[in-house]
Point group: C2
Chain length 152, copies 2
Amino acid sequence: MSADAPAPAGRGVPRRLDRDEIDALLHAQRVARLGCHADGETYVVPLIYAYDGSSVVAATTEGRKISMLRSNPRACVEVDEYDADGRGSWWSVIAQGVYEELTGAEIAPALDLLRDRFARAAGRTAEPRAVGPDVVVFRIRLAEVSGRAVDR
Amino acid sequence: MSADAPAPAGRGVPRRLDRDEIDALLHAQRVARLGCHADGETYVVPLIYAYDGSSVVAATTEGRKISMLRSNPRACVEVDEYDADGRGSWWSVIAQGVYEELTGAEIAPALDLLRDRFARAAGRTAEPRAVGPDVVVFRIRLAEVSGRAVDR
C-alpha cells in the first residue's frame, strides 16, 4: 500500500487477529521473544524459531533460559512485526505455552523443520546450530494464543 | 559495511556489549519486550518506550500488564536489533528492573521525554498516547543490565 493510499477502515484502532492471521504471523517471523520465570525472576530472551502449526521449535545451547525452563516449563512466546508497511502498523501474537525438551527420535524432525525454515528464509538472520553435546532441541507447545493489530 | 567488506574479527562469535553499546542500543530502539509475572503466569508484551539513561519510560492504558506489574513490580526488559546490516548480525540487551508508576509532577517530564523521542524518530512506528483517565505513565528502573552481540 502506498503512503497515499486511503487508510483502511478502523485505522489506528486495535483489533483482534483471527486464527489464520495468527498462524500467518507465526510462520512469517523468525525471532520470537520467550519469557520464562524461575526463582522469582522473569527473563525475556530473543529466540530464533520455526513454527510447526502448534509449537514453536528451537535449538539452543545449555544456559540460563534452559535451566529456568527445566525448573518451570510454563513460558510465554511473543512474536510481532512493527511498521512493515512504513505507516506504523503493527501485529503482535502472545501465547502461553509449555516447554518440552525433545529427545531421541523427536530431534531429527525438529532440526529438519528448522533447516527447512531457514533455507527458505532470505537473508542470514538466523541459522540453526549444528547439534553438539551442549545443544538442546525443544518446543514450546502453544495454548491460549491471542493476537492484536493496529492498521494505519 | 558492504556485503563484500572483510568480516570483522570474531565474526559469528557472541561477545558482551559494553556499557556504551548497551546505552546506544537502548537509546536507538523504540520497541522493547517487557516480561512480567503474576499468579504463576509469565506475560511478554511489546512496549513502546523512551530511555532516560537509567529507566525505560512508557505510557499505556490500564490492562493486563499494568495489573500484573502492580501485583509484582519485578520485570524484565529486552531490547534487540536483528540484521540491521543485512549480514545477520544482532545485538540484544536484557535488563532486570522494577516497575514504578509515575504520579503528580513526575508525569509531565516522562511525557516530554516520550514526545521528544518520537518527534526525533523517523517513521511512525510509535506515537505516545495522549493522557486520558485510563492512561498509566510508568518507568522500569533498570538494574543488572547485560548485552550480547554477534557480528557477522
